[in-house]
């Protein structure tokens, strides 16, 4: 007689709790392939864990976003938010599609330069810009987004010193009706700080004010907040025209569009609640078109969308290290990836799918990472089929922030591969090695030797 396929014996208490009219979906449909390539083959070739990006999804998502805005507004420009994912190959996909660069540090600025982005197409945001950073941005004619008065004054001094007229925009924060209101970046709209900064720039006559900018929040679930922000920035631009006769060339709405991830504590999955890019586009462009600009003065609309353009294109493949039972009877599965490389698991309940076929029996599981740290929890509750040691899983929607916020902590960071339009996989970032990490360390001579006394253990 042919032996049956083995599955770990499972017993689960049937709980009759509160009814949930939405039901709960069990994530046990296997995802064995990504863009036609088998998960097990990718892991065999590049190791586990492994980040995988889909070029096709990146390009399609970008084109969809451009379509959403360009069909509603005549002048639109996207600027790739480097901090979301600044692996050069990823940046260059966006640059190939026509996206400028949006950077928030001297380091990111240099990456954009290295990627061949012309200076005037690098938007320089962020509160931390050194004198050298500012000088370089001034020389390259990059739009510098002023965050605070200290920067405004310093930039004015540098403009005099260099005898240049830097292109600048001011960063504006405002009440858009959402909580928490972001007010740490830029100048406030409601209390008049923004106008004070504008007056100083224009009357100072050393800086060329070409734009106004805002970044109202992150993972925004309300398109209406963007309409409010677009209205307030338009009010500033129109006010500048009226007061000084000066045309503002662009309105930069920043980033913050939500991806399809599910925030921790959400009642419904992100895929069901996240507004579409069309909804964001409709809110922003309607506000701009109705603000009162003449046709010739309609500003360029700049969008620094990051997360919503890359999150869905990223996958993390991993393997089961071990299974165990916790003191209260809950199942725990230990994976070879943790919060060190999946930083976003601190705020998302990531969708995680097994990569191989299973029966319909499932078990509530806590999914831990491999770190010897109590906080290393990838999912505190997930319903999964019984996973065996060395089974593979696919974590979905990880393209944003993980490949920039990941930590070299306890373990080294894994390789990143991209599956090209041609269906082939290519490395775009090698797995870290101990040499990579130790190459920055310096051992003083007096610490080069030690002799450990022999103890009980020989």
């Amino acid at each position: 007689m042919k032996k049956q396929i083995y599955e770990r014996p499972l017993i689960q208490r049937i709980n009759t709790g509160m009814m949930n009219k939405f039901g709960t979906k069990t994530e046990y449909a296997p995802v064995s392939h990504i863009d036609g390539l088998a998960v097990k083959d990718l892991i065999k070739e590049y190791g586990s864990p492994l980040f995988v990006l889909s070029e096709e999804t990146i390009r399609n998502t970008y084109r969809e976003a451009v379509r959403a805005f360009k069909t509603r507004y005549p002048k639109v420009q996207f600027a790739w938010s480097y901090k979301t994912n600044y692996i050069n190959a990823v940046c260059n996909i966006f640059h190939q599609e026509g996206s400028w660069a949006e950077v928030v540090s001297g380091f990111e600025y240099q990456k954009a330069i290295n990627n061949g982005v012309p200076g005037p197409k690098i938007i320089f945001n962020g509160p931390d810009k050194s004198d050298d950073d500012l000088r370089r941005a001034i020389t390259n004619n990059s739009p510098i987004h002023i965050d605070h008065l200290d920067e405004l004054y310093r930039l004015t001094e540098l403009a005099e010193e260099m005898n240049k007229r830097p292109n600048v925009a001011i960063r504006v924060n405002m009440d858009t009706g959402i909580y928490p209101m972001w007010d740490r970046f830029g100048f406030n709209y409601e209390n008049g700080q923004a106008w004070d900064a504008i007056n100083k720039i224009i009357l100072g006559n050393r800086l060329e004010l070409i734009g106004v900018h805002c970044h109202i929040g992150t993972f925004m679930l309300s398109p209406q907040a963007y309409a409010t922000a677009a209205y307030k920035l338009s009010d500033l631009a129109l006010g500048i025209k009226k007061k000084f006769g000066k045309t503002i060339h662009y309105i930069d709405m920043g980033g913050g569009f939500a991806s399809k991830n599910t925030l921790k504590g959400s009642f419904l999955p992100g895929a069901d609640t996240t507004p579409t890019i069309d909804q964001f586009a409709e809110s922003i462009t309607t506000a701009l078109l109705n603000a009162g600009f003449t046709e010739n003065d309609l500003p360029l609309l700049i969008l620094e969308t990051g997360r919503a353009l890359i999150d869905e294109a990223g996958y993390l493949l991993g393997s089961v290290l071990a299974n165990k039972r916790l003191s209260d009877g809950r199942r725990a599965t230990i994976m070879d990836f943790g919060v060190n490389i999946l930083f976003t698991s601190f705020w998302y309940d990531h969708k995680i799918s097994p990569a191989q076929e299973f029966s319909s029996y499932t078990e509530d599981t806590v999914m831990y990472g491999p770190l010897c740290m109590n906080i290393d929890v990838v999912r505190s509750h997930i319903t999964l089929p019984p996973l065996r040691k060395e089974d593979h899983v696919v974590v979905h929607t990880v393209g944003a922030y993980n490949m920039t916020q990941w930590m070299q902590f306890i373990a080294m960071r894994p390789a990143v591969v991209i599956i090209g339009i041609d269906g082939k996989s290519l490395i775009i970032r090698n797995k870290e090695t101990i040499e990579n990490i130790e190459s920055s360390e310096v051992m003083p001579d007096f610490l080069k030797k030690h002799e450990l006394a022999s103890g009980i253990l020989k």
Partner: protein, 82 residues
Amino acid sequence: MKLLKNIALSDTGFVFNPGTGDSFSVNPIGLSILKDLQEGKSEEAIRNRVIEDYQTDNETIEKDLYDFLKMIEQFNLTDYHE
């Protein structure tokens, strides 16, 4: 280890403890192990039976059976007096 005498097992994997009112679900292999316990089989006999019936090895079933028996003990489905 023995299953409590009054535990009811259905062929679809539904387990009922009339003593506490608790009900459970088990997968087919779990059900076969509960039936083995009802018949009074030893752990070793259960392991051998599973290896004979399923595509697995001694090491795997040893770990998984240990875990499964711990769970039914934790769910108060076992008889301590026997």
